[in-house]
Amino acid sequence: MRVSVVVIGAGPAGLAMSSRLTAKSIDHVVLERGEVAHSWHAERWDSLRLLTPNWMRRLPGSGYTGGDPDGFSTKDETIEFLGRYQKQIDAPLLPGVTVKGVRAADPGFEVVTDQGPWECEAVVAATGGMTEPRVPELSSALPPGIRQLNALEYRNPGQIDEGEVLVVGAAASGTQIAHELQVAGRQVTIAVGGHVRLPRTYRGRDIYWWMNEIGRLEERWDEVDDIGRARLVPSPQLTGTDDRRTLDLNALIDIGVEPVAKLMAVNGRRAQFSGSFANLVAGADLKQNRLLAEIDAHVAERGLDDVFGAATRPEPTRVATAATELDVSRFSTVIWATGNRPTWPWLDPAAFDHRRRVIHDGGVGAIPGLYFLGLPFLRRRLSSFIDGIGRDSGELVEHLHAHLDQLATHRESIPGVPGLSSSVRTPEKSVARAVNQLGQR
């Protein structure tokens, strides 16, 4: 079947792009291996909430209208929001279709699925930034008696045996899981590498309110010093709860969690942790305070010091001397909260560099007509959040539209009407028909 654009994935990114394409009358389909927000159903723990406040939970044409703009959406509320959005924008969705291959076919692409092939002129890979847990190789060195699971497999404390737990990783997922398990009565040790410390609120406002206010979330991918590094920065130590509590290492130490530095090696029963704990927390404290100083300067410049609360800096991380070696047999469970990476096993090799990372410039792929959406810092710091995906989609769809126009100009020997591409003129009915036919199968 033919269609101008194939969008792969029906999470926030796929749906946002679908909305943009529809607004430009560009015919497309959205292929989804499961259902809308599949990974939110299948690969998130029960208590998870969005890190950003509800007012930032918006996609093109749909802002938050509920009664709690400063609250944090639960997993179920997020799933419901995305389901509602899919209906609102009437996305041409094909659920239960697994993409097997995407090959450049000059011009355009061939998209092979478990339910037949598609030919198209552009592909939007919107499968997200966390399709595969980044579990370190040393996990295989742990004794077989210790149960291992990753953050995408974790659901709730009821799933975890009695006994001590080692949570490896101290970004949002690691700190949230460590907190939940310690409160549930497990003794938790958390292994901490390079991390991002942030207070939930500062001077009476949410930290993301401030980051938005001072323009931090708008920093562009082509303006930061080292975008490769910026994209690998772990998620901040934050949680979205009704009491808006801060979830930093001090908060974990307060409830009895034992922090250690990065897990470096497992030799027999000995787990060895880095001796760099003091430097790790010093670096995180410094970066946090640099951000808070920027906020203070922003407030002072505008003469608003009386409007906002006192500039009370969080207490420095209380550095207990962290253990550098522990007997792993004390742990009954190890949870890998070591981050996730995006994978595109179905994608044309020409889209990757020699280290199997996709090449893209702000979401524009290395193959003409290939686009990525929904990756950390894709085009701006905000890209890591639903809010940013909507913004990115608006810019990428312009590029995509120009690409389709260019193809149409090349293809047509008769000069076309400027601004009217064949894709726009393609009768939408044919695609709608194809979608319907597939849906009926």
Binding site: G194, K262, N267, Q272, S274, S276, G283, R290
Partner: protein, 187 residues
């Protein structure tokens, strides 16, 4: 707060060359593979002399401008001749000099003019470990503390960030803080 390179800063570090090397090695990762070498020869008693001259990197054999030698020995209180620093002291020197080199480099990159940098290194060791008195005591340091005194116009926060970054990018910091596989063989 100065965070960008300024032409008036001169700490004697050629940051442009380093940034050029970083780019070149990003494009040619095989050239980034270096091997450091030293020979260590027993002199007498606990006295040994190590010589450092050749190494490899950038895809070929390299050598220092001249051969350097380091004498190591034990102090007289252990009935040794004290012909040099002890090996653990040399390890501490390697750590401090590595971080200090990083301080100068990062400072230049960040436009911070240094007037003086001094590191005081302290490391405790319980000799019951190496003497085999108590099996629960490790041979190595029970902790290392380095105190930097840095004279420059930068703010305290910028200096702290500078020292933190220098540790983050230090080869010897990593080598001491983290486990490394060591193979010792006899031929």
């Amino acid at each position: 707060m100065t965070t960008t390179e300024s032409p008036t800063v001169d700490n004697g570090v050629n940051v442009e060359a380093l940034l050029g090397a970083r780019q070149a090695l990003t494009d040619a990762p095989e050239a980034a593979q270096f091997q450091w070498r030293a020979t260590c020869e027993w002199v007498n008693g606990t006295h040994s002399r190590s010589v450092i001259h050749e190494f490899s990197g950038l895809g070929q054999e390299q050598q220092h401008r001249t051969a350097y030698s380091i004498d190591a020995d034990h102090p007289e209180i252990f009935a040794s001749a004290d012909n040099g620093a002890t090996p653990p002291e040399i390890a501490l020197v390697a750590l401090a000099s590595c971080i200090t080199a990083g301080v100068a480099t990062v400072a230049t990159h960040r436009g911070i003019q240094l007037r003086s940098v001094k590191a005081n290194v302290r490391a405790g060791m319980d000799l019951q470990g190496i003497l085999g008195i108590d099996g629960d005591v490790r041979n190595g340091f029970n902790g290392i503390k380095i105190t930097y005194e840095i004279d420059s116009d930068a703010s305290k926060a910028d200096i702290e960030a500078l020292v933190a970054q220098a540790q983050k990018r230090s080869a010897v910091f990593d080598a001491i803080a983290n486990p490394t596989t060591i193979a010792v063989e006899v031929i």
